[in-house]
């Protein structure tokens, strides 16, 4: 198999030198972190006055974890390590409790991130001759822009179409002979189900590869997509706190994702005890970013469950590989590629006076796409007897939810006492999606 590199030296660096590089970069990162009020307190407590106080990678394990909640509490500038004028880009999440999280990048940070993406793209066999249709959402979400810049860096023809509008996606794929797409697996399945409607067969397309992202999926889903389109599909991993896509990416061997260890210190921990686990053991992925001056994050708990492979990959890259994401340590749902916390939904529905005390969240597969249904019980005292008012109430709840979680739910109104009631811990999420 042909193996191409974007940066052969780094990608195939022997493990000892790679560790040395990590230590050097980690020291710089600590120096940078000391510029933020949040980490200054923490690092001084751990007797670290400067990056030079770090003797080796093991010392990192003595530092406390950073959590999503820390990011929220530090919003907006508590983790900013450079002057705001140096920031050239920010990305932000919607935030589960009304408080968003934000990530800052300097121009150098952006260049380093883009470089990781160029590396990832080339690892899949793409070249500057490819036509890349980026179907991931642009904007504050990192998925679109990250791969966009990576594609340009490689020299591909990038079509920044963004998500949705299936008819146009298909037309553009035909017009410009798109060879590679970046897309959620469920959307790629959906597009296939609608090709016939637009007089298109998979073989009318020039598609050769797909970068699958933003959604955990199984090996079966990958194979199915590969068969349906006659393409190679590559899994990718990223999260906005670690810049976005490009943290880990599959190479042409498609045997799990190389995680770029010159840019991230990778740990797998027992989510209950915080103990660091060995390669091959399943646990929570914890990442320290080494290439972002504007906003260092040390030992960030991703809440994603996975394990690491240390054995060498036939491609020759020495960076360890990350398994598929096997689950979450929290209750986050991923619905058509969008991260949704049940607490966001609860916050919206419980703020509506006409809603009673109980609600339920249901997720189903309809065709290839996910459908979110939010069932609420109405509050009897607010019932006026007017059906039109109830219809408006439904629309109002749907609109408020859409504003909060960015996806359009179906809202169902129910009589009080009908939805399952719970003693003790409520189980309000019913996920009917089967493994595809």
């Amino acid at each position: 198999m042909d193996v191409a590199f974007w940066n052969r030296e780094i990608e195939t660096m022997d493990r000892r030198r790679l560790t040395e590089l990590q230590v050097t970069r980690l020291r710089d990162t600590l120096d940078q972190a000391l510029h933020t009020p949040f980490y200054r307190r923490r690092l001084e407590k751990a007797q670290i006055q400067s990056g030079q106080d770090l003797r080796g990678l093991e010392d990192l394990r003595t530092l406390p974890f950073t959590t999503k909640d820390d990011l929220r509490q530090s919003f907006p500038f508590g983790l900013l390590a450079v002057d705001f004028s140096e920031v050239v880009r920010l990305h932000s999440s919607s935030g589960t409790t009304g408080v968003p999280t934000v990530i800052y990048l300097t121009q150098d940070d952006l260049d380093r991130w883009t470089d990781l993406l160029a590396r990832s793209i080339v690892a899949t066999g793409c070249t500057s001759k490819d036509v890349f249709q980026n179907m991931m959402t642009y904007g504050l979400f990192t998925g679109g822009l990250g791969l966009h810049y990576g594609g340009e860096r490689v020299g591909m023809t990038v079509i920044p179409i963004g998500g949705g509008n299936t008819q146009r996606q298909i037309r553009v794929m035909k017009d410009f002979k798109t060879t590679v797409v970046h897309i959620t697996p469920s959307y790629l399945l959906h597009i296939h189900s609608r090709l016939a409607e637009f007089d298109t067969r998979p073989e009318d397309l020039s598609l050769r590869r797909a970068f699958l992202g933003a959604e955990p999926h199984s090996e079966n889903t990958r194979r199915k997509l590969e068969d349906l389109y006659g393409i190679d599909a590559y899994n990718s991993y990223g999260l906005s706190e670690m810049n976005g896509p490009g943290v880990a990416f599959e190479c042409v061997y498609k045997q799990d994702m190389h995680i770029w260890e010159d840019a991230y210190v990778v740990e797998i921990i027992d989510p209950a005890t915080g103990e660091v686990l060995d390669d091959g053991q399943k646990g929570e992925l914890v990442l320290t970013i080494l290439t972002r001056r504007a906003m260092p994050l040390l030992r960030y708990r991703t809440r994603d469950l996975a394990f690491l492979h240390a054995e060498p990959c036939p491609c020759g890259r020495t960076h360890r590989r990350l398994s598929r994401i096997l689950g979450r340590t929290d209750d986050m749902l991923i619905i058509n590629g969008v991260n949704v916390f049940p607490s966001q939904i609860e916050e919206v529905v419980m703020a509506v006076p006409e809603v009673g005390t109980n609600y339920q969240i249901q997720v189903d597969k309809v065709g290839a796409l996910d459908r979110l249904t939010v069932k609420v019980e109405i509050y009897p005292k607010m019932f006026t007897g007017e059906a039109a008012l109830l219809d408006r109430l439904k629309a109002r709840i749907a609109e408020k939810l859409r504003a909060s979680i960015t996806i359009n739910p179906r809202v169902e109104l129910h009589e009080p006492g009908v939805l399952p009631a719970f003693e003790g811990k409520a189980k309000r999420v019913v996920d009917n999606r089967q493994e595809m």
């Binding site: 109405i378 009897p380 019932f383 006026t384 007897g385 007017e386 059906a387 109830l390 219809d391 439904k394 169902e412 109104l413 129910h414 009589e415 009080p416 006492g417 009908v418």
Partner: protein, 143 residues
């Protein structure tokens, strides 16, 4: 002169309407007029019964979501153009009808209709002044 209508919230579930009706039936409450406002996922059952206070208490006791609304029962001549005549009177006096539906029984030779107005008192006055007969609660009970 107005009468009581009960509005019952019905979620879209098999047998729900039957449950509500049989509850009323078991307690000897007779439905005189009924309509259902339905939407895609739920309905609102509107009923006029012979014993509205008892019915309201019964529904409440069974934790059925219901609400009491004032409506007006009007005698409409049971002949072609009968309803049109009543509606014309209302329209001429700028009285809006939110919704309306028919009774099961007739009152003498006339049909009985339930009207829901946004301005109930004004509507009653218009109807009375125009000689249209409004039927009271006592009459409904005795039907």
């Amino acid at each position: 002169m107005n009468i009581t209508q009960l509005s019952v919230f019905l979620e879209n579930r098999k047998g729900r309407l039957a449950e509500v009706c049989s509850l009323l039936g078991r307690h000897q409450i007779n439905i005189r007029a009924l309509t259902i406002a339905e939407t895609e996922s739920f309905g609102v059952l509107r009923i006029v019964v012979d014993k509205p206070d008892e019915a309201a208490a019964l529904l409440k006791e069974h934790r059925i979501t219901a609400n009491v609304t004032n409506v007006v029962a009007v005698e409409v001549p049971d002949k072609p153009g009968g309803l049109a005549g009543v509606l014309k009177v209302l329209a001429d006096h700028d009285v809006n009808v939110e919704y309306m539906y028919g009774f099961v029984e007739k009152s003498s030779d006339n049909a009985l209709m339930v009207f829901r107005f946004d301005a109930v008192e004004a509507a009653i006055k218009v109807l009375s002044d125009s000689g249209i007969k409004i039927v009271g609660a006592e009459h409904i009970r005795g039907l």
